[in-house]
Amino acid sequence: MFRPEGGARPAPDAAWRPLADIYRTDRGWLIKFELAGVPAEDILLSARGRLLTVAGIRRDCTEDQVLSHHLMEISYNRFERTIELPCDVESSHLEMQLRNGILIVRVSEEGGAE
């Protein structure tokens, strides 16, 4: 009845999800996204209500002439990740920094953390 192992599985969206870490900080929230190989201009950060979404595209590129592929574990093409935070992200102050392939987003709540 159900597809055996290896059948089509629904993905959250038609894009891959970068891994994320979330920290509580004294000023609000710090979120890290693992986005190695993605230049800053290919990343789009957006906020709507309590939702913070990072989307974009990772393009594959190699300096050398490729003869054939033998393994591919890194996901390419469109990515998207939405994180819900317990505060209104839309009205918060957002700060974005791309360092060593990690995207760091700082969400500063108004009035800081209680």
Binding site: M1, F2, R3, G6, G7, A8, R9, P10, A11, P12, D13, A14, W16, I57, R59, D60, C61, V66, S68, H69, H70, L71, M72, E73, S75, Y76, N77, R78
Partner: protein
């Protein structure tokens, strides 16, 4: 659709047996060189995109455009590995639906030009309704399939806001075949997709429900048996605890008790006790349990040593026999003789009698009456059509549903080991590959062997020697010789008119009147009426039709009384046509006058005798002898012998010898439709031909019977009594008989003998003198010739 600015060009990966929906992840295994090339081309791009399109026919190895469906799905390769040199494992994720416009290239791999064709989303209340009902169906299907659904799926299902994603997700959960998947992929609007999915899922649910029902019923069957077994075990335990006996044990105890009380011969008791011990060891569910129990019951019930006491008072027995049957002196005296022997020697073996006679002559009722007169039980069964030896001798106990044979059953029913057993229709025994019951009867009917008759079922010797066997048959021709040898044959020849009259008055009329609820005064059937019924309505040796005719008459009379009449009714011969219909038989009557060439013969039939006229006539030309009237071979030969005799003695009879050479003869014996045979018409043929050739008529008041030889000797014949009575019935009072048959007149009733004249002859010359008046006195000399 044509290419426009949104058209894209991508490598194509044809898929076998499956389609990929957008939003879904699917592992793929790629082996075809062209497909590997397409994948490698996609991997070389920044986006890792290609298009997956299902093949219409999985067996095509190098598909062209028409081998692929028009709609495919753009996918991104998420992961890839190469376990072998020319073989790739992929994990792809569907992105969006595309429509193939054309192939831009086919070498080294397929490149297609596509237009994106996303499904139209019409957010209407109908869509929501569809969505809900599909979700419900899917839930039902999951429940029915009793499969553990990964939590993420149910969560995704519940949390999904996107109807397009939902419909694809649901579709992927059930193993739809490619055609259905592809149809769903090609749906124009989301609502269409939901409708399709709804159809598929309802079908799935139906199939699943059916499957579960089948499983359920199989399970419950099993459960019932197990439950019963458990309960039985518990019951047994409880009974043991309470010190009670199980039903089987009490059943066995009952049989033991009966066995102890039963009067059994030692060897039978030993065998029965052995079986009982076997029975105790068996569980009641074993099939043998019931077989042995039935067997033991049978053994116990059989009258091994029970006999009824014979009533040996001769006078009483004679009274009973006379009361039940008229005449039959020979049979009755045989029975009384046997009683006398039993009185003198109680250990005498019972005789084995065989009653032979036409139907309706009282064979069966005589058997009953014998049993009554001797004071024994009476049992009868018919052997007619029996063709299986096992019916008589029983089946071995190893067969399912085995039973003892008919003989042992009859003895058990009688409840005594010395009943009168009547075996009816012994002449109609059959035989086939299952054995010959006649051979089994040989043992049964042999007094030397039947004291230890072994029934296959009992497998114990049973003494049948005290049983009085009576068999009946309509004719002895078909009874096997060895069987006939063992029996004492008593003939019940059929009744003559006088006897029938007596029987009708004594037994039939009272019985039928009683049946119709009439008294003897209310309905009178006088002698002349009865005679007409006997002669013209019933031509038979027995009495069945006569009894039926009398029954009919009494019912007609009863109807008159029931309708209000009070006057006693006397049935006149003239009333018979109205009451019984037209006469079915007209017996031959004496012909008053007759031309030359006719003589009256006498014939014996099963229903008594009959007058037979032989008619002969000369033909103007030709030579031979024409014979008609269904004459048998023997009768035809006796006509030829008669003709030869007359030809040889033409001079003595003053016959013109030219007649024999110049003109043919036609001889006919009416009634034409009834077959006739036998030599006894020999002298009649001779007289008819002599009369024909001499032109001198024979006497019409004389009938004759006798076989004739070529030298003119008259030989004796059978059935004298019936023939004489037939002549008398026809109004012929003078009968010519062979000298050797004179003694047979003993059988003819006195009243018939008194008003008839008999001429006994030894030679044909005497016959001619006695029958053709013109010869009287001067052909007697032929005898000396």
């Amino acid at each position: 659709m044509t290419a426009h600015e949104h058209s894209i060009s991508l490598p194509v990966l044809p898929m076998k047996n499956t389609a990929l929906f957008p939003h879904l992840l699917m592992p793929l295994s790629v082996g075809r060189p062209k497909s590997v090339a397409a994948v490698e081309a996609a991997l070389a791009t920044e986006g890792k995109e290609l298009v997956l399109i299902a093949q219409r026919d999985a067996s095509v190895e190098a598909p062209a455009q028409h081998d692929l469906y028009a709609y495919g799905t753009k996918a991104v390769i998420r992961k890839m590995s190469r376990p072998g040199e020319s073989h790739l494992e992929l994990l792809v994720q569907g992105v969006e639906r595309l429509m193939l416009l054309k192939f831009e290239s086919t070498e080294p791999y397929l490149i297609g030009l596509f237009n994106p064709t996303p499904m139209a989303i019409d957010l209407t209340p109908e869509l929501e309704a569809l969505e809900r009902s599909v979700l419900e169906l899917a839930g039902r299907a999951i429940e029915l399939a009793q499969a553990a659904v990964p939590v993420e799926i149910s969560q995704l299902m519940a949390g999904s806001k996107d109807p397009v994603r939902l419909v694809y997700m649901l579709a992927s959960m059930f193993s739809l075949d490619l055609e259905k998947e592809q149809t769903l992929l090609e749906a124009q609007t989301v609502a269409d997709a939901y409708r399709l999915l709804h159809t598929y899922l309802s079908h799935e649910v139906q199939v699943l429900e059916l499957r579960n029902k089948i499983n359920e019923s199989a399970r419950s069957e099993m459960g019932k048996e197990q439950r019963e077994y458990m309960l039985r075990q518990q019951m047994r335990a409880i009974q043991q605890e309470l010190g009670e006996k199980s039903p089987e044990q009490s059943e066995i105890d009952l049989i033991r008790e009966r066995l102890e009380k039963a009067d059994l011969p030692d060897d039978v008791r030993k065998e029965a006790e052995r079986e009982l011990r076997r029975l105790e060891k068996l569980p009641s569910a074993a099939p043998d349990f019931h077989v042995i129990r039935t067997y033991l019951e049978y053994v116990i019930e059989l009258p091994w040593r029970v006999s009824t006491e014979d009533q040996l008072e001769i006078a009483r027995a004679r009274g009973i026999l006379d009361e039940d049957h008229y005449d039959l002196k020979e049979v009755k005296s045989r029975i009384l003789e046997h009683l006398a022997v039993l009185k003198m020697n109680p250990k005498a073996k019972a005789p084995i009698l065989c009653f032979v006679g036409p139907p309706g002559t009282g064979k069966t009722s005589l058997g009953q009456s014998i049993a009554r007169s001797v004071g024994r039980k009476f049992e009868r069964f018919s052997l007619g059509g029996m063709h299986d030896e096992a019916e008589l001798r029983g089946h071995r106990r190893t067969y399912i549903g085995a039973m003892p044979g008919r003989l042992v059953q009859a003895v058990r029913r009688a409840g005594a080991n010395n009943p009168v057993i009547m075996l009816d229709e012994v002449d109609k025994l059959g035989r086939d590959y299952r054995g010959d019951p006649a051979s089994a009867l040989l043992e049964v009917l042999d007094p030397e062997q039947n004291n230890s008759f072994r029934d296959n079922y009992l497998d114990l010797p049973f003494d049948l020697s005290k049983v009085m066997f009576i068999t009946t048959a309509n004719s002895l021709d078909t009874v096997p010789r060895p069987l006939l040898d063992r029996m004492e044959v008593l003939r019940l020849p059929g009744y003559i008119e006088e006897e029938k009259l007596q029987i009708a008055w004594r037994y039939l009329i009272p019985r039928q009147l009683k049946e119709a609820g009439l008294t003897a005064e209310q309905c009178v059937i006088p002698e002349d009426t009865l005679k007409t019924v006997i002669r013209n309505y019933t031509r038979e040796a027995g009495l069945r039709r006569l009894e039926r005719a009398i029954g009919r008459l009494s019912r007609k009379v009863a109807l008159k009384f029931a309708e209000g009449s009070t006057e006693a009714v006397t049935v006149r011969p003239a009333d018979l046509v109205e009451m019984l219909g037209p006469e079915p038989f007209t017996p031959e009557q004496m012909r008053k006058k007759s031309p030359a060439g006719v003589a009256a013969g006498l014939a014996w039939t099963e229903t008594g005798g009959d007058v037979l006229y032989v008619e002969a006539t000369l033909l103007p030309e030709g030579k031979g002898l024409t014979l008609t009237g269904q004459l048998g071979e023997v009768m035809q030969e006796s006509v030829k012998a008669a003709q030869s005799y007359i030809w040889a003695h033409a001079a003595d009879l003053s016959v013109n010898p030219e007649l024999f050479t110049k003109s043919g003869v036609h001889l006919h014996v009416p009634a034409g439709a009834i077959p006739k045979d036998g030599p006894s018409a020999g002298i009649t043929m001779t007289v008819a031909l002599a009369s024909l050739y001499t032109g001198r008529p024979a006497r019409m008041d004389t009938a004759m019977t006798g076989e004739v030889t070529l030298t003119g000797l008259v030989l004796p014949i059978g059935g004298v009594k019936e023939k004489v009575l037939a002549a008398r019935r026809a109004g012929i009072n003078r009968v010519v008989l062979p000298k050797a048959n004179e003694k047979d007149l003993y059988d003819v009733p006195e009243e018939a003998k008194n008003d008839m004249q008999f001429v006994f002859v030894e030679h044909i010359g005497e016959v001619l003198e006695a029958t053709i008046p013109a010869f009287a006195g001067h052909v007697g000399s032929l005898a000396a010739a």
